[in-house]
């Protein structure tokens, strides 16, 4: 393969009780990335459109990820890789913008290098890329962006990632209010310790959610799409959070929560009709605010990052 173009979807991490461990792929928006072999060796980013991001390899999420994979095979190959990025996911939106770049980068480079590495290894390399933007290595955006569906990161040492593909017609509505919520601030509002009783309630909910997803049981999913630990602290950083939540739940959303560390929020529901109605309700609230916003809806597909023509 001489060249490949890929689509890398957005993703929602910290899914309710699955703080730090559960994310899902959201293909309603995603980056387009183009990879091509070059006669001269090495990796280079020749173009980025859609966002002001550094072309310098070591400062760029995609650059670091591709380089990490490329370095493993450098002695065995006689070509380089050129990367062009059409950035469609707004950096800082809380829907895995840098993770999509990292996932797309690894997918593209893997295709050209034919690395045959297991997916956990690829995720691990993509995490190194994403860390350039987020400051720490985490996998709950990178994994669903790469693999599609839901990804459970059940452990980091050793990295253990499981894909969960739910058979329900799950849709998500994602609102990105264009306000700045600094990751640092979102972290600072969290308590360092939580009551054991609250922790056990939360892990009960996560376990129920995982079971609901694997059994495609909408009732069980809905009962457990809740977050007793993080949301009470972070929702105050997102204006009108409770109104958006009520608007979504009034239209029979299965659940509602903060995407990543915000400011984006998401609703999960069954069927496109329900998604459109939730979207309309949230649009009404957002339109009355003094900030810009983006609003997306789409199904939770299982494709993850994939080749496009």
């Amino acid at each position: 393969m001489e060249k490949i173009s890929v689509f890398a979807p957005a993703s929602v991490a910290n899914v309710c009780a699955g703080y730090d461990v559960l994310g899902f792929s959201f293909a309603a928006v995603g980056d387009h990335m183009h990879f091509e072999k070059t006669p001269e060796k090495g990796v280079r980013i020749s173009e980025i459109t859609g966002a002001e991001l550094p072309l310098t390899l070591e400062d760029n999420v995609a650059g670091v990820a591709v380089k990490a994979l490329y370095n493993r095979f450098e002695t065995q190959i006689d070509f380089g890789i050129d990367i062009r990025i059409e950035k469609k996911i707004k950096p800082g939106s809380g829907i895995g913008s840098s993770a999509a770049s990292a996932a797309g980068a690894i997918f593209g480079a893997d295709a050209l290098l034919n690395s045959q590495l297991p997916s956990t290894e690829l995720i691990s390399l993509a995490m190194k890329g994403e860390a350039v933007a987020s400051g720490c290595e985490h996998a709950d955006n990178v994994a669903p962006s790469l693999l599609g569906g839901f990804s459970l990161i059940s452990s980091y040492h050793p990295l253990t990632v499981s894909s969960i593909y739910c058979d329900l017609d799950l849709h998500a509505v994602v609102l990105h209010p264009k306000i700045e919520v600094k990751t640092k601030e979102a972290r600072a509002v969290l308590p360092s310790k939580i009551p054991l009783t609250l922790a056990t309630e939360q892990w009960g909910h996560l376990a129920g959610l995982i079971l609901g997803l694997t059994r495609s049981d909408a009732e069980l999913i809905s009962r457990h799409l809740t977050d007793l630990v993080i949301e009470p602290h972070r929702k105050n950083l997102i204006p009108k959070f409770e109104q958006y939540k009520s608007a979504a739940l009034d239209e029979k959303a299965l659940g509602f929560g903060i995407s990543g560390s915000g400011p984006s929020v998401f609703a999960l529901c069954e069927g496109s009709q329900s998604a459109e109605q939730i979207k309309a309700n949230m649009m009404q609230i957002a339109s009355a605010q003094d900030y810009d916003f983006s609003l997306y809806s789409g199904e939770i597909d299982n494709k993850g990052t994939h080749e496009i023509r």
Copy 2:
């Protein structure tokens, strides 16, 4: 139906990362209970063998459970219920002795009353019985004792119980060291607050364990049969805990942990041969101690409480 005899199995609660929410049925030992319709109305316990337990209805786990169910139908029926209990599970052993009595009681009374209640309702009534002995209503022994396999109590409000029947040939080895660990003491050693980072690690493990069980994935189960939160505090109440654990893991146990709040401990493994070897290893350690003990092994069956002839 005029009378019925039932077997109510022991159970292991607080399964590693599933503290408070996950239990499994352990049919290697269990109570035998006999229920018979009487012409005079009301509930009575006519005999208990194997343990010194009160015959007074309101002081007895089985009595309270049966009475709770009986009261619902009292106006519609013209018979009473007589209960005889052959207690085989040692009270205070930490393998759900009172839960078995409560589960057996509800199963037997339900059969005579033909109540047609959903299982969640029956579990809820059994919990009232068990509370007589434990002081609080919990379901992670009662549910697996009644339903067999693994039970996830993903929420208490509303009570949400899911059975997980794993396709692996899972066996458990349970050691009951005959020392007293007071529930009060076992509770007192637990911290009221835990670090958020530790909580997220723990709920990742629980989520992975649930996924492993539903997928019958021994590798995933084994990786996540761990408890970072409770075990470090409670293991000190159980002499030689670490030696038992090593002995089990050396023989390829999938995992090892404290049963309930102790003093019993359990190993989970695949296949009866592995179970026998683990049992032999643990026997060797226990025999060198200055306390009596019981040691059981058996498969995790999916029958739960059932009729016997």
